[in-house]
């Protein structure tokens, strides 16, 4: 075999049956070429299309289908999946902690006193069991360790997904908080439609129920207080910082939902705003 004048690039239509729209979508989405070729001519020569006009008809049909399906898939895959993942992560973490308590209590009756919590369970899981009673405790401890590892994987997945669902929100809030806000609102669309004052206290409801169950102190603010720009601002200015942050996060959520493009200027604007809040009154 001799080399041709250039490496043959494969057009999207090659090997495709006319009318196979899903095949066309696959070819458009996954195919690549280093450089463009005169695809209409190539397609006619390959017998894919009768003439250029016929080729463009096929291309139009294929690109519309691919773009429509691609968009639907991205939108479907995204914010609702994120919500499932973050709820699963919460369940895994909570269950791991509850089981760790059980393990610690049971282990305390059989072995010497150890650490409580996940770390304690990790130590117990490593023990060589002597007899069936020990084995039940060490096995249960191993489940706690596994569950904790799964929670960590869910967290990593959640943070990755948050960046693709809501790139601007994730950049401003951090992926974990972005995911949390979307989950609390029930979706990116509902978050985008909330006024920024609502976003500011989002998550306080959850803390309130935790408080009523006796697991937490009474809530004063929503989840955005986990953001460094709120926590790291001195108490007297914290309200202003929270308001400023909520305002920008709300804009970011709207851009992510309605426009979808990345706007790096939002971060700079927020940085500048917080800087002003933190330095005012200082002199």
């Amino acid at each position: 075999m001799t080399d041709g004048p250039s490496t043959e690039e494969r057009g999207w239509f090659e090997g495709l049956t006319r009318g196979d729209l899903d095949g066309a979508r696959e070819a458009i989405e996954t195919g690549t070429a280093e450089s463009p070729e005169n695809w209409p001519t190539r397609a006619v020569a390959a017998g894919f299309a009768a003439d250029a006009a016929d080729y463009y008809d096929a291309l139009g049909e294929a690109t519309r289908h691919a773009a429509r399906e691609g968009v639907a898939e991205r939108e479907l895959s995204d914010d609702q999946q994120l919500i499932h993942a973050i709820r699963a992560m919460d369940d895994a973490e909570r269950t791991a902690n509850e089981l760790a308590e059980r393990v610690a209590e049971w282990a305390g009756s059989r072995f010497e006193e150890g650490e409580a919590g996940i770390e304690g369970a990790r130590v117990i899981a490593e023990r060589e069991p002597h007899g069936p009673g020990d084995e039940r405790v060490t096995d249960l401890a191993a489940r706690v360790v596994d569950l904790d590892a799964e929670a960590a994987r869910l967290r990593a997945f959640t943070e990755r997904t948050a960046g693709s669902v809501a790139p601007n929100l994730a950049a401003l809030a951090g992926p974990a908080l972005a995911a949390r806000l979307i989950a609390l609102a029930g979706g990116l669309k509902t978050l985008a439609r909330k006024p920024s004052g609502t976003l500011q206290v989002l998550g306080a409801e959850e803390a309130l129920f935790a408080h009523l169950r006796g697991q937490a102190t009474s809530p004063k603010h929503g989840v955005i207080y986990t953001h460094e720009y709120v926590r790291g601002t001195r108490p007297g200015e914290r309200g202003s910082a929270a308001r400023a942050l909520a305002g920008k996060l709300s804009i970011a959520a709207r851009i992510d939902h309605y426009a979808g493009d990345r706007r790096p200027e939002l971060e700079k604007e927020l940085d500048a705003r917080i800087e002003r809040i933190r330095t005012r009154g200082e002199s």
């Binding site: 070429a33 005169n38 690109t63 519309r64 979808g260």
Partner: protein, 226 residues
Amino acid sequence: MSDDRSGSTDDGSGNSPSLPTGVTYREFGDESEARLATRGRPVYGERTEGEWRLWDPRRSKVGAMYEKGLDLRLGGGKKVLYLGAASGTTASHVADFSRCVYAVEFAARPVRDLVGVAEDRSNLFPLLEDARKPASYAHVVEPVDALIQDVATRGQAGVARANQRFLADDGVLILTVKARSEDVTGDPADVFESVLADLREAYEVLDTERLEPFHDAHLAVVARPR
């Protein structure tokens, strides 16, 4: 496929020399001033007069370039690669007077609208792809006469350079540089200078023009490949 209109000489537009066939100034309703317009089905609630629809320079950077009198060297009936097509407002106008438009946009949300626009325009091909990765669509896009770019990402000159492979030797690059995408705090004039310097590695810059008052801190650039 729409008819190839490049051969038609009289479309009743009374065009100025820099406007391609199929783009014209027309009076809309009782407005005394003639406004930029193309012929096609309306897509975003713009005003129409007969088969002509208003091309609002405030909503479209290419529209603003014509409004500012730039010669885009974009004849009617050309093949166009449009990077950063967003929801297809401008791409729809360009498709009205071009042979075909390959419209690349990476954000899912606007592509949904773009597909809607493409449903009424058989010569507009929507591509859900990343303009920074030309190899991901070079198996679909053919060589073109014009490359129109309006992407709000850092490294706008780099995107134009990477996509030069699509442009015919005598083709034209019509670029919108958004200063705030490169550097939010910098003086736009400095940002434009550095983007132009980067662009000149691969292109010969023919003309530049700020797009105020239609678009703040945006520079229009007309260039050809080196």
